[in-house]
């Protein structure tokens, strides 16, 4: 997503105008959509239990095939999954009635319900589940099932998933991978999905809209909204459409969320969609990546610098100033999730304490130029951010501003990812991550993950942390892994967060803001992962229309 950028100027200008245009359309023309009067603007839609229009982005250009990654955020809509996360992110059964993991953690045995049928009327069996997992493991899509050795159907309703290595995070594949029908999974499946989910596809106008209707064969509670229309507008267009009453749910940026829309309420959803500063951990010129890019930075390799940055920045001020209050301070990579170690949180916005840390670390302003030095080296580094992302820019700039009083000189530069990639192992970079899958934490901090790519870009390396992360990954279940995930953040003595090695300076979590029609009850929403928009659909089958 972040790599796709368009003609910014044109985009912005056109949306601005589109905004005016829809905004000034009178919302009173709520006549039926089949009107063929060419003289009037397209009839505004008003929501009802029959139809709700959403402008939350999330078009999957390559279609709706779960074995290629469809459904990794929010609801797969057309398909259903073995397990799912409820509103508190607890793991609950969906297609599965039960599952168990073998002693060695390598074999997952799942029994499935017998009343599930695909929307073409054929029953969903263990063979379909096995097929889906095997297919996903070998297909080059956006779902990573490479840990799967093979999946076999033991009988009609039991499937055994055998892994190459025990992997506690494999449960996330059971949560996100929608089951496809073996008998109807051909080349055109992605454009004509058949599944056992709450909705089925009616029409997809690529680049414009997706129309879906409730699946009468769905085994769960029938969805209360009969028909959903997803409009693929950009954020400003979505806002304008909401303002004119044409859509009932619109994903908007934090800067637009401060506006008012009549008949709509703002839903401000907590997320783990974080932003933070990644520090190069090794000293400069320690080694090079396979592509020959430099690794390491002498300034940020010093623990005192990394900790001082963590203590000096005022995260709440960033939330208020940059995110209009729609966000929360981040002290680690997994805020608000069950595996967050809250003891790792620090009291920030303390320039005095930061100065002490610097002084203890040997950083002193000996030449009175306002910048501290150690052994003749100035405390100076460059913060890189993705140039067309205004939030990242503001975060980088305000960090630099907050570091000036403590004597650290941060130079801020915006570049495209292509230009940041060769520099990201030797400079501080503003990154944004956030997932329900703990694999991300493993990849952020494990020394083996650092391979000259986005994984552990700073080449953080600590053997004790490595073994804690390995224990978490090798734990037989998510519940048992949580202790280790927490310990890796901070165990009272050691950790990757600010009190420990301060490998990153996490800054903020973005709230995801949606305008939702006052008549639409979207229930209790999950803490959302990185990716604003589609995650709100996680519980879409439970949404209800409360007005007449």
């Amino acid at each position: 997503m972040q790599i796709i950028k368009r003609e910014r100027l044109i985009g912005v200008l056109s949306l601005l105008v589109a905004g005016w245009a829809i905004a000034s359309c009178s919302p009173t023309s709520t006549n039926s959509t089949t009107s063929n009067n060419t003289a009037e603007s397209p009839s505004a839609q008003s929501g009802s239990a029959e139809q709700v229009v959403l402008a939350i982005g999330g078009e999957s250009e390559e279609g709706y095939d779960p074995t290629l990654g469809w459904g990794r955020y929010g609801a797969p809509l057309f398909q259903s999954t073995l397990l799912r996360r409820d509103e508190n992110l607890n793991i609950v059964n969906d297609l599965a009635t039960d599952y168990s993991i073998s002693e060695d953690g390598k074999t997952w045995t799942v029994t499935i319900r017998e009343d599930a049928v695909f929307s073409d009327g054929k029953p969903l069996t263990a063979a379909d589940v096995a097929y889906t997992f095997n297919k996903a493991a070998e297909s080059g899509g956006l779902t990573d099932v490479t840990q799967l050795e093979n999946a076999t159907a033991v009988d009609a309703k039991t499937v055994a998933l055998t892994l190459k290595q025990p992997q506690s995070t494999f449960v996330n594949r059971l949560i996100t991978l929608g089951i496809v029908p073996e008998h109807a999974h051909g080349e055109d499946y992605a454009r004509n999905p058949i599944g056992s989910g709450p909705y089925k596809m009616v029409q997809w106008d690529e680049g414009q809209q997706l129309i879906v209707e409730a699946n009468p064969d769905y085994y769960g509670d029938a969805p209360a909204i009969e028909r959903l229309v997803f409009l693929f507008l950009e954020e400003d267009g979505a806002f304008a459409a909401a303002k004119s009453g044409q859509v009932q749910v619109a994903a908007v940026s934090q800067s637009l969320a401060v506006q008012q829309i009549e008949g709509m309420a703002l839903r401000d959803v907590v997320s783990v969609d974080n932003r933070g500063l990644m520090f190069p951990y090794l000293p400069a010129n320690s080694k090079k990546t396979a592509d020959g890019d430099p690794i390491g930075n002498d300034v940020t390799a010093d623990l005192a610098i990394r900790q001082a940055v963590n203590y000096a920045v005022d995260r709440q001020a960033m939330v208020d100033g940059i995110l209009e209050g729609y966000g929360s301070p981040a002290y680690g990579p997994v805020s608000s999730l069950e595996w967050e170690e809250t003891k790792a949180n620090i009291e920030d916005a303390q320039p005095e304490k930061a100065k002490e840390i610097l002084a203890e670390g040997g950083w002193i302003d000996s030449d009175s130029d306002g910048i501290v030095e150690k052994n003749g080296m100035k405390a100076e580094f460059t913060i890189l951010y993705k140039a067309d992302d205004s939030i990242r820019q503001a975060l980088a700039l305000s960090t630099a501003e907050m570091l000036k009083p403590i004597g650290i000189q941060a130079n801020v530069e915006g570049k495209s990812w292509d230009n940041i990639e060769p520099l990201m192992h030797s400079n501080v970079v503003v990154f944004g991550w956030g997932s329900h899958d703990q694999t991300e934490m493993y990849n952020l901090y494990h020394s083996q993950a650092a391979q000259g790519d986005y994984y552990n870009a700073g080449y953080y390396a600590d053997s004790a942390i490595d073994s804690t992360l390995d224990l978490a990954m090798g734990a037989p279940s998510e519940a048992e892994a949580v202790t280790y995930w927490k310990a890796a953040q901070w165990n009272g003595d050691k950790g990757v967060t600010a009190k420990g090695d301060a490998a990153w300076a996490w800054l903020v979590n973005l709230d995801h803001t949606y305008f939702v029609d006052e008549c639409l009850d979207v229930g209790q929403l999950q803490v959302e992962p990185h990716g604003h928009g589609w995650p709100i659909t996680a519980n879409i089958a439970e949404w209800t229309w409360t007005c007449e």
Partner: protein, 335 residues
């Protein structure tokens, strides 16, 4: 005898044209591949986007393998060429669909818009040019000149935005996005609704072409009106409009037609911008996506297609010359 020699001339003409087309397409393909091999955009990373932390190196290898990206560029080009000889343009990375299908469905949306814009710009441009040329120096000429210079120097997207503001915002007579009203099944979308969504983008696109053709036609007509034979016709008492009709029209048609067919490439380029402004899902949008995500098969497919499109346009212009001016013959080196 004469028919036979004409036939041979036509066949030589066609063969030459086809050969040139083949060479052109080949050059275009090689050029696109070479350019994209220098592109810093890694298609695998562009595809993964924000999911970078969830996709292991093993999975990245699977993705690269799925599209054959793990092979060197030279080999990919040869593979692609082999497929092309079997009539297969490859599969689009972005849309997970055969390139020919992507182009067909997207071009269908663009085609109607391009056709309307093309006709409008040709007819209006010619008419305005003739009026201005015939009435050189008088107020209609000045007005048309002002209009043409303003538009010729205005970027397409800016004109598109102006039209949006005027017709969609102020007068509310035009829709602001898409090719059909939201939430309506395609079988229920009426012809009028389609036309309604099409008209404004098409008008925006045509306006630029008008200026170009009008100014050239005007200049040509002025030259003609200052020629000796027109002086002679005037001396015989022929009226201005009859002179324009009998002496001017055929002569101004030539540059107008050349421009009109040559403008196909500009039209094609302009449609990329106009489609962005009006959120109209045509080929232009697909081009932007393909380039930003290093989708080589799709990009080459579109470049191929547009080269073919423009080349056909120019050939049609070549074919139209002898019809309008019999002094011009097919295969003449002067054409």
């Amino acid at each position: 005898m004469r028919v036979k020699s004409l036939l041979i001339a036509a066949m030589i003409f066609a063969a030459k044209k086809l050969l040139r087309l083949g060479l052109l397409l080949m050059a275009v393909a090689v050029f696109t591949f070479v350019l994209l091999s220098f592109s810093p955009i890694d298609p695998v990373k562009a595809y993964i986007g924000a999911d970078m932390m969830q996709i292991s190196p093993e999975q990245q290898a699977l993705i690269a393998e799925r599209w054959g990206l793990n092979q060197p560029m030279g080999e990919r080009f040869l593979d692609w060429l082999g497929q092309l000889l079997q009539g297969n343009l490859g599969t689009s990375l972005v849309f997970n669909q055969p390139v020919s299908e992507v182009i067909a469905s997207r071009f269908q949306a663009s085609l109607q818009m391009l056709a309307i814009a093309w006709l409008l710009s040709g007819l209006l441009g010619l008419a305005l040019g003739i009026i201005a040329g015939a009435l050189q120096g008088r107020w209609p000429d000045r007005l048309i000149k002002l209009y043409a210079y303003t538009l010729a120097s205005a970027p397409t997207f800016w004109v598109a935005l102006l039209l949006l503001i005027i017709f969609a915002v102020s007068f509310k007579v035009a829709p602001i996005c898409c090719a059909a009203p939201p939430g309506v099944l395609s079988q229920n979308v009426t012809f009028w609704q389609r036309l309604h969504h099409l008209l404004l983008p098409a008008a925006a696109l045509s306006i630029i072409g008008i200026a170009n053709i009008a100014l050239h036609t005007r200049q040509k007509l002025i030259d003609i009106l200052h020629s000796d034979y027109v002086l002679f016709a005037r001396a015989q008492g022929e009226s201005l409009w009859n002179i324009v009709r009998y002496h001017g029209f055929r002569n101004v048609l030539l540059p107008a037609i050349t421009l009109q067919f040559a403008s196909l490439s500009e039209l094609f380029g302009g449609s990329v911008l106009v489609e962005q402004v009006f959120a109209y899902p045509g080929l232009g949008e697909a081009t932007v996506q393909a380039a930003l995500r290093s989708d080589i098969p799709l990009l080459v497919g579109i470049v191929f297609f547009s080269a073919l499109f423009v080349y056909t346009g120019n050939t049609l212009a070549d074919l139209a010359y002898p019809v309008i001016d019999p002094r011009i013959r097919l295969g003449d080196s002067s054409t």
